[in-house]
C-alpha cells in the first residue's frame, strides 16, 4: 500500500541515523501520549551548517521513518534553510499519501526538530 512504500519501510527497519550524538549542540524530545511514539533529535552544528543530525525513539513505522528521512535530508544544509523546513517537506519525503489520522505520527520528527531550535541557543 502507498503509505508503506519500500523506502518508508526501509528507513523504519534500518534507519541510518538512529543514534545519540554525545555533546550535541541541540537536542529535544517530543512524545505523543496518544500512541506512545517518542522522538529525541540531536544536532551537531558547525559554521552555521548542520553537520550531523540523528535521533532516538520508538513508535510506529510512520513516525520513525519520517524522523529518519527528515534528519538525513537536513544534513549539510545551512541552519537558515533548515529553519524553513515544514510539513510539506516531510510529506514529500514520505512520498505516499499519509491518511489524516496519521499526520501527527508523520510530523513528530519535525516537531522535535523545531523544538530543538526553540529550546536552546547554540
Amino acid at each position: 500500500m502507498e503509505m508503506y512504500s519500500e523506502t518508508v519501510l526501509r528507513y523504519y527497519e534500518l534507519p541510518p541515523n538512529k543514534s545519540k550524538i554525545p555533546g550535541a549542540d541541540k537536542h529535544a524530545h517530543v512524545d505523543n501520549p496518544l500512541c506512545g511514539d517518542e522522538i529525541t533529535v540531536y544536532l551537531k552544528i558547525k559554521g552555521g551548517k548542520i553537520v550531523k543530525a540523528s535521533f532516538e525513539g520508538q513508535g510506529c513505522a510512520i513516525s520513525q521513518a519520517s524522523a529518519a528521512m527528515l534528519l538525513e535530508s537536513i544534513e549539510g544544509k545551512k541552519l537558515a534553510d533548515v529553519l524553513k523546513t515544514g510539513e510539506k517537506d516531510v510529506l514529500k519525503l514520505l512520498g505516499g499519501a499519509i491518511t489524516p489520522a496519521r499526520l501527527k505520527c508523520a510530523f513528530l520528527g519535525l516537531d522535535a526538530l523545531k523544538k530543538s531550535f526553540s529550546e536552546q541557543e547554540t
Binding site: 500500500m1 503509505m3 508503506y4 519501510l9 527497519e13 501520549p33 496518544l34 500512541c35 506512545g36 511514539d37 513508535g59 510506529c60 513505522a61 510512520i62 491518511t99 489520522a101 496519521r102 505520527c105
Partner: protein
C-alpha cells in the same frame, strides 16, 4: 434463528462502499454503533410530527413532545430494571459519571475521603474523581489487576477500607472486555457503608443489566453504543439518593421556583436535567431499545460470543499477537484487544483501513490500564449485532497482509 445478515439489512450505513470500493467491516462498536433505519425513522417522525419544547407549553404539541420524552424514560428504565422516576437523561455515560461524582461529593464527601475504582477504568470513571481530588481533597484508590492482567485481583475486597466512601467500577472493560462481578462488588461495598456506582457503558449493550439485582446505587449507560443516536445517555439512581444529593447543572426545567437569591429544585428526576433536553435522542433511544428487544438481547449476546470466539481463534494463528483480557467468551463482552510484537498498533490500523476494516488503535481512553499492562497502545476489535463471521475473516486477512508488508516471519 438469529441471522446477522438479516439484521444488516436494517442498517443503511453498512451498505455503503468505502473509498476503496469495498463494503466496510465495522469493528469499532465499543466506540460507537451504527443505527438501524427504525431509529433513524423514529427521529425523523419526531421532527415531522411532534417537535416542541417538552414540559413547557400548555398546547397539545408540547404535551406530545413531553409524552415522547417521558415514554422514552420509561423504556430506558425498563431496559435496566428500574422505575421511570429513577432515570435521569444525560448526554452520555461520561456526563453521567460527572453528574454522580459531583452530586455525591457535594452531599457526602469530605477531604480525605477515599474513592475506590479499578485499574481497568475508562477515563470517564477516573478524571471526574481527579477533578474532585483537586477541588475537594478526596483521595483515589485502585483495585489492581490479576497477575495476567485479565481481570480484577483476587481479594479485591481488601481494598475497601474504613476510609472508602465510594466504590465506582466498570461493569465491563472497554479494552479487556472483562465482565466484573458487580453484584459481589456492590454487596461488599454496601457492607462497608459505601456508595456504589457502576459504569455500564460497555455492558448495557450486551448483558441484560438489572440494577436491582446488581444492587448498585447508581448505574450509567450511553445510547450511542447500543444503536441509539449520540448525545443521549442515562443515569439510574436509587430514588432516595437522587432526592438527597443536590443537582449537578442549574438552569431551566430543573427548578420548581426561582427567586432573586434562592431557588427550589424540581422533583426527581427532572431536578438533574437542566435546559431543553435532547428529545430526539431520547426518542431514538426508545426506538433502539425496542429494536434490541425485538432481536432479543440474549440473542445479540450469544452472537457476540460466537464472533469473539472466532476472533480469538483467528488471532491465535498469529504467533506475534498477544491477546489482552480473558479468553473465555463467557467472561467478556464482544471486545478483543491485542498487541503485535513486530507491528505498532497504528500501523496495524492503517493497513486494516486499506482493507476497509475499521478497528481501533490507541489507548482507548484507558491510559492507566495501558500503563498497568506496560503498553502505550493496543489494537481493538469490538462486535455488535450486525457483524458476521465473514467480517472476522476479512479482519484476519488484513492482519496477514500487515505481516506481509512489514516482513514479519
Amino acid at each position: 434463528m438469529y441471522s446477522a445478515q438479516q439484521v444488516r439489512k436494517d442498517f443503511p450505513f453498512l451498505k455503503k462502499k468505502t473509498s476503496k470500493g469495498k463494503t466496510l467491516v465495522y469493528l469499532d462498536n465499543a466506540a460507537t454503533t451504527q443505527k438501524p433505519v427504525q431509529v433513524l425513522r423514529a427521529i425523523m417522525e419526531y421532527y415531522e410530527e411532534k417537535n416542541a419544547n417538552p414540559h413547557r407549553g400548555i398546547y397539545e404539541l408540547s404535551e406530545e413532545a413531553t409524552e415522547e420524552y417521558e415514554s422514552s424514560r420509561a423504556a430506558a428504565a425498563q431496559f435496566v430494571g428500574a422505575e421511570s422516576g429513577e432515570i435521569v437523561f444525560v448526554k452520555n455515560a461520561t456526563e453521567g459519571m460527572n453528574l454522580i461524582a459531583n452530586s455525591l461529593a457535594s452531599a457526602f464527601l469530605k477531604p480525605g475521603d477515599r474513592v475506590l475504582i479499578s485499574a481497568m477504568e475508562h477515563h470517564a470513571n477516573i478524571v471526574p474523581w481527579l477533578l474532585l481530588k483537586q477541588r475537594k481533597g478526596i483521595e483515589l484508590d485502585y483495585i489492581e489487576l490479576s497477575p495476567d492482567g485479565t481481570k480484577l485481583e483476587e481479594n479485591w475486597e481488601k481494598r475497601i477500607t474504613a476510609k472508602t466512601k465510594v466504590v465506582s467500577m466498570t461493569h465491563a472493560s472497554n479494552v479487556l472486555g472483562t465482565i466484573n462481578d458487580v453484584r459481589a462488588i456492590c454487596a461488599a461495598a454496601k457492607e462497608k457503608g459505601c456508595y456504589t456506582i457502576i459504569d455500564g457503558a460497555q455492558a448495557a449493550p450486551h448483558l441484560q443489566a438489572d440494577v436491582k439485582k446488581i444492587g448498585c446505587d447508581f448505574y450509567v449507560f450511553s445510547g450511542h453504543k447500543m444503536l441509539a443516536p449520540m448525545g443521549i445517555g442515562a443515569v439510574y439512581g436509587r430514588k432516595q439518593l437522587l432526592e438527597e444529593v443536590p443537582p449537578f447543572l442549574g438552569g431551566g426545567d430543573m427548578i420548581r421556583r426561582v427567586e432573586r437569591q434562592n431557588a427550589e429544585w424540581n422533583e426527581v428526576p427532572w431536578k438533574f436535567e437542566a435546559g431543553t433536553p435532547n428529545v430526539e435522542g431520547a426518542v431514538g433511544l426508545k426506538a433502539a431499545i425496542n429494536y434490541l428487544q425485538k432481536l432479543g438481547l440474549q440473542n445479540v449476546r450469544k452472537h457476540g460470543e460466537k464472533l469473539t470466539f472466532e476472533t480469538l481463534k483467528m488471532l491465535h494463528a498469529f504467533k506475534h499477537v498477544r491477546i489482552l483480557g480473558p479468553e473465555n467468551t463467557k467472561e467478556k463482552v464482544g471486545t478483543v484487544a491485542f498487541t503485535h510484537a513486530k507491528i505498532h498498533p497504528h500501523d496495524i490500523a492503517s493497513v486494516m483501513n486499506e482493507h476497509s476494516v475499521a478497528i481501533r488503535s490507541g489507548h482507548h481512553c484507558t491510559m492507566p490500564l495501558h500503563q498497568t499492562l506496560g503498553l502505550a497502545a493496543s489494537s481493538r476489535a469490538s462486535f455488535y449485532a450486525y457483524n458476521t463471521l465473514e467480517e472476522i475473516e476479512r479482519f484476519g486477512n488484513a492482519l496477514e497482509d500487515a505481516e506481509r508488508i512489514f516482513g514479519v516471519k
